[in-house]
Point group: D2
């Protein structure tokens, strides 16, 4: 049950359904996983941003990983976010999610504490040295305020510190530099280049991405899997059309949060589609207004997903 | 052993001495506490930014609170940071530090996750509702990217949600607005207005602050206590002279980190003064270079603190 | 008619009244100047942020300086902003405003173009070398994104490049460092330390400021002059009371713009007080709504200024 | 001599060669233009960021437009930046560059002054209403701090306010939204969608861009024209290979400035290639060090451009 090198395909960041009381709704979570597996996804990423990892307690995080990893078994690779501020705290998270069944961890640069570039590199080296499972870098400057430079990612990839990159930076030129650099260096064979830019998956695959981690794939896994297959089959035109359809669907997320792709809209859509029991997000996030829910419903209807 | 309302005086954010292996050095920690108590401080703030809270594991955080609270007993109020990303995680931290002996908790706005202003208010209301001890707001936009507006602090103070403010924003006009607002509203009697701007303590006291939380007080508690007493005695001239002496000393912190007041310089100074055994900071922070240590030593010598 | 060294007292950034068609209303401008002179101010700063300098054409800028400098003659020092992106463009502005009668110029760091710290220093050295009148640094990171470090200001002051500082950064610890540094260095005698933080004038004077440049002094010059005199007379209590009164009045500016102290609210107040004919701001700024005007009127009424 | 609707192809932002004294070197400028024309470019953009527009005086700006427009005559469309802070000042720039021969103007959102979203829209509406030539929006948040939302660009395109977009934001998902929106709306036929992301030209063309404005095309116009033709011919593989060659060449710009693509490196390359007489950049920019020049030379040599 080793981790694929590289990991390819569609790897949704799995939403975390909650009960009205704010506890993990394991039944809904496993129904969501079944829905994703039925959609043909190639892996599952739990405890990412779309999973509200920042809002879940350590107990709840463990519960999520155990439930999902136990449910899919060896069938699909399960990656888990190990989201915490600095090295030692991240390592506690890594130990917990690995013990709970995660086959790889996804780790951001330090946050809250101000750190210098050399300290970011040191962070990844230390995490990787102590992790029982492969470590992927999570480049998410909107959350942590540090952009991982392409040169650093390539250096750590070449050393074997990093097994992959999940790029949620939105900066496609740096992403291209990583993809091209990985291709050019025999030491980085097997390194997984994954994009989190769900509106640019076709483009990212053209640039050399191995796969995508699209939050919207919770709602429409079939669409992203179709897009992936079209792109892999060399049908650029078809991939682009599917991507543009998904871009239109993506506008359903422009509600219910401080930015696009906020978990609230994804959960509202999953609830409206009957996949999860309750659309609640974790506190202190405000619930969607009726008007916001109607906005989501309209987009689902327009996409034929209701 | 109720929490003072308001808390007044000098309340240092206590550094967390570590062993060369990165574990909490309890012996050094208690020597540091004794040094602060001998300096006349009025309270202790553990697990703040200068304490490297973001770098300590939950186990280490508990160890720090237990050691310090157990050591000072009822003698001095001990506040603890409950630094985590969002409400439920913060409440886990609150429960842990309160159980370990903290008499109040200091809580930031949510971070890592993007939140809207109404969600920040909701966060504090929920934390306060479930906390067994008083909650102070920790306004530290450099770390969390949200500035707490004066109007919000005053609203939450008036409702009894917040017991105080530790302002590390550096924005003195908002601080003045809070201090003036607290003074003007009978519902906020007992609210603690504390500044983290160690180079503006004299000014903050003039504006109505109850006390200060200066990182540099680890190194020179006597100086800050002197400054506090001069200001309270109405000797503006004397307070200003003492403050300017401390501003000069503060330049020792301009080394060993990404910004001023990085823990590395404070720990180097405590080590050079013989108060703690080892100047190590937590990973992934780089140790100070020899040149940086010399810079710290020169400033201590100039201040007569060696 | 040399420039005072240092310039002391209250130096309002003079609003630029416009006609409904968007041209400079010279009659209203001179009435405003007379109102400020009657209030006892010690100098006039034209073409600053509160003057909407960024919105005026070169022709209008020249018109403003000529009108004001011609009107006050040798009676009061007139400083003018020379606001443009980089060195050569700033020097064109300097030449124009000096020819039009400005006795000193106020110059920001480069903006729009990204520059490195050494290039900021080079900018000021070149501007000062070619300017026929003294150059004050305008520290306004909110507009130009570069904070002038205290050490750089002191270095340029010591070299005679800068004749003063107008600090609109809101960062009082750096301001204190400049004020203390100027006091400590015989080479910087005559350097003018001016604060733009209108809610902290009493504090800034305590820290060693020579004067203040408060936008709100357009509306209530008498108040700021009273505050200045109380502070200079050593009446800290009285100065603080006057400052807090002005802080309350300042809330009238929380309307009509993207931030506090937007020109629209100041102009509405001047119009309501009968000092200027038309409250229009320059395009593309939106006019105040009726509700916003009512907000300004309420604050003026509460302050007895109607 | 109307402006093409849409403008297609490679439209380099033309560098502005200077004499050692800092004046426009018209001879070198026209040699550079000839070099670009010989490379097959489809238009010329003067007074953009790579042209150091922010550093040139009004007199120099006029000189550049007159020289270039006079030189190419009706042969090639010449666009000019009208870079200034706000509406009235921009309109002065528009009048000047249009009189000097520019056939379209490129206009940013307001900067220096803080403005609200509705004021950005108002700015473009007023500029377009008074401009004698078509107006393209210049989306460059790194310089002006405002990102133009795709919805706003599409709204202004639909109204006929904007004739095109030059996107230097680096955010490809918004760019895709504009390109798709323009395609879907009959009112926006003829709207020019241009990318300034020189490392993503192949991708941008795939997404529907009409053309590119690559700073590096100063150095290697033939390469970008080749890339454009390959992409237009549907040879995605060939376009990608050419783009990746240009990405490698692009690393020559990682020197001599605060960020990549700084004018200093482009000018050093043009000087080393013998196209311009002097590599000087405008003050206060520091000249490249010898080591930085060597870095540029190495990259040119590796690309066979020496």
């Amino acid at each position: 049950m080793t981790f694929p090198a590289p990991l390819t395909g569609v790897v949704p960041p799995v939403c975390t359904p909650l009960t009205p009381e704010g506890e993990v709704d394991v039944g809904s979570l496993l129904r969501l996983v079944d829905h994703l597996v039925a959609g043909g996804v190639h892996g599952l990423f739990v405890l990412g941003t779309a999973s509200e990892a920042a809002f879940l307690t350590d107990r709840q995080r463990r519960q999520v990983v155990e439930a999902v990893a136990g449910h899919v078994g060896a069938g699909l690779p399960v990656l888990a976010g190990a989201v915490d501020m600095t090295t030692a705290r991240v390592l506690d998270q890594v130990a917990a999610v690995a013990a709970a069944g995660a086959r790889a961890v996804v780790v951001t640069a330090p946050f809250y504490a101000a750190v210098r570039p050399a300290e970011v590199a040191r962070h990844y080296r230390r995490v990787a040295a102590a992790s029982p499972v492969p470590v992927l870098a999570y480049d998410i400057p909107a959350a942590v305020r540090t952009k991982l430079p392409a040169a650093l990612v390539l250096e750590l990839a070449g050393e074997g510190v990093l097994a992959g990159l999940k790029d949620s930076s939105g900066e496609l030129d740096g992403f291209r530099e990583v993809a091209a650099g990985v291709r050019a260096d025999s030491r980085t064979a097997g390194f997984s280049v994954l994009t989190g830019s769900e509106r640019l998956v076709d483009v990212a695959l053209t640039l050399g991405a191995d796969g995508a981690v699209p939050g919207l794939a919770n709602v429409d896994p079939h669409g992203f899997v179709r897009l992936y297959r079209l792109a892999r089959a060399g049908d650029a035109q078809g991939a682009r059309a599917e991507q543009e359809r998904l871009c239109a669907l993506f506008t359903l997320t422009r509600t219910g949060g401080p930015g696009p792709a906020a978990p609230g809209a994804l959960k509202a859509a999953l609830h409206l589609r009957g996949i999860i029991d309750c659309p609640a997000t974790a506190g202190p996030q405000l619930p969607l207004t009726e008007r916001e829910v109607a906005h989501v419903r309209d987009h689902l209807a327009a996409a034929g997903l209701l």
